[in-house]
Each structure stands twice: as C-alpha cells, then as structure tokens.
C-alpha cells in the first residue's frame, strides 16, 4: 500500500475550509450561511482525523465525534431560528436582521 502524505490531507482540509469561508462571506441567504458553516466544521474535523491517522491514535476520531454532536445541535437551533426569521421578515436576507433593534 502506497503512503498518503499528511500534508495532502491537511491541504485538502485547508481548501475545504477556505471554500466554506468564501461562501460564508459571499452569500446573503441564511440557509447558505448555515451550509457553509457545516462545510467549515467538516473541514476542521477532517484535519483532526488526518492528525489521528498520522500518529495512529483514536483521539482524532473522538474529537470528530464531538464536532459532529456540536454541528447537529448548532444546526437544529440555527434552522429553528431560520424558520422563525422567515416567518417574521418574509425573507432569508441576512441584512433584514439589521432592522432588529433593541
């Protein structure tokens, strides 16, 4: 079996994270913002799994399980908020929330 370099795995995680960051900065739709957060969390988990595979330890996968639980909780609350915002403002625009003063 040929070997995969650790560098390539980390570079893949970096590329996915930057794509998520670009999407987070560019898109104004709230659902796209949540989706790009998912991409970024997934890339961070990938970096942990790559590091775990490098030293052949289970810790990287354990941290990925924690990230997964955190992402699930975050998405549940975030999507409930999206539904609430859509009902109140009839729009998914992030800028609509700047009217929410006080």
């Amino acid at each position: 079996m040929t070997e995969i370099l650790m560098r390539d795995g980390l570079v893949l995680a970096g590329i996915l994270f930057s794509l998520g960051l670009v999407s987070l900065l560019v898109r104004r739709n709230l659902i796209f913002v949540l989706m790009s957060l998912e991409v970024m969390l997934n890339a961070a988990g990938l970096a942990f799994v790559v590091a775990g595979a490098r030293w052949h330890q289970a810790d990287g996968q354990v941290v990925f399980v924690f990230i997964l639980a955190m992402a699930a909780a975050e998405v549940a609350v975030g999507l409930a908020l999206v539904v609430q915002i859509y009902r109140r403002f009839k729009s998914l625009d992030v800028d609509a929330l700047s009217k929410m003063r006080g």
Partner: protein, 173 residues
C-alpha cells in the same frame, strides 16, 4: 488507496465549489451531500471506518435531511432564485475570494516542510470506543448535555412562533 484519496478529495473540492455557486438552495444541498460523501471516502481511505460511517449516517443523512425539510417548509420558489441572482454580482466575490486564497496559499506554504507519511492500517471502532468511554467520558457527558440543550432550544424557538401565529390566524398552524 492513494489514488482513491486524491480522486475523492478532488470530488469533494469540486462539489463544494459547485455548492457555493448554485442559485437554487435544493441544488446546493444536493452538491453538499455529494461533498460530504466524498469526505466520507477520504475518511475511509485514511483508516477511519467508524468516522466514515458516522459521516454518511449523521452528516449526509440526518443533518442534510433536516436542511431539506426546512427548505421544503419555507417553500422557496422561483422568486428566491431571482433574488439570489441579484445578490450574487461578480463584484461581491472579489474581496472574499482574494483574502481567503491568500490565507490558503499561506497554509499550503507552511505545510510544505512536513512531508510525513500517514500511518498505515485502520484505527478500529473498538479503539475509538475505548478512548471515547475511557479518558473522554466527561466529553461524552458534555456532548449529551449540549444535544439536550439544542433539542430544548430548537423546540422553544420553533414553538413560540407557531403558538403566536395560531392565535392570530386561527388554527391553521
């Protein structure tokens, strides 16, 4: 195995790029599912079969279905695609893409000096379980509390508005 890693990585990057350039939310979600499945293949190749299965079941299964449900509930039509087209002018891309690519190039440059090979062989689910319920037991408890808090928070946030809407419109939820 090495080839599978690079192909799956390329598929993940490509489908993520397609995800963030789509105008229709459902199309973007489908590309995101492809991206997550490709990352699951990467996990399997890296010797983490347990995490690969979790990625398919929890990420591509549960979380994406939650997204799909919300998108269907909001009932976004062709109108939203038009709005997206207005929002996504080319000028808006330049700044974030430039800055993020500067950061990415820096990361790649810093990774250049570490050509360490990954260990061969998989880390079995048994080892993960022993680590999870041994030294990381407090983390498992905290994660369960976080999920409970997320459940109650989502229920609370979603519930209050439906009660209010039901009061004003009638009982058509």
């Amino acid at each position: 195995m090495e080839l599978a890693f690079y192909i799956a990585g390329a598929v993940a990057v490509l489908s993520t790029v397609l995800m963030l350039t789509r105008l229709n939310v459902v199309h973007a979600l489908l590309y995101l599912i492809v991206s997550l499945l490709a990352v699951a293949v990467v996990f399997y190749v890296l010797g983490a079969p347990f995490v690969a299965a979790l990625e398919v079941i929890v990420y591509a299964g549960a979380i994406m279905v939650l997204f799909l449900f919300v998108v269907m509930m909001l009932n976004l039509g062709k109108h939203s695609v038009e709005i997206e087209r207005q929002w996504l002018t080319p000028g808006i891309w330049i700044g974030p893409v430039f800055l993020a690519s500067v950061l990415l190039i820096e990361v790649i440059y810093l990774m250049r000096g570490t050509p360490a090979a990954l260990g061969t062989g998989a880390v079995e689910p048994k080892e993960v379980g022993i680590a999870l319920f041994g030294p990381y037991l407090i983390g498992v408890e905290l994660a369960s509390m976080l999920l409970l808090a997320g459940l109650i928070g989502a229920y609370h946030v979603g519930f209050r508005e439906t009660k209010k809407a039901g009061k004003s419109i009638g009982d058509s939820t």
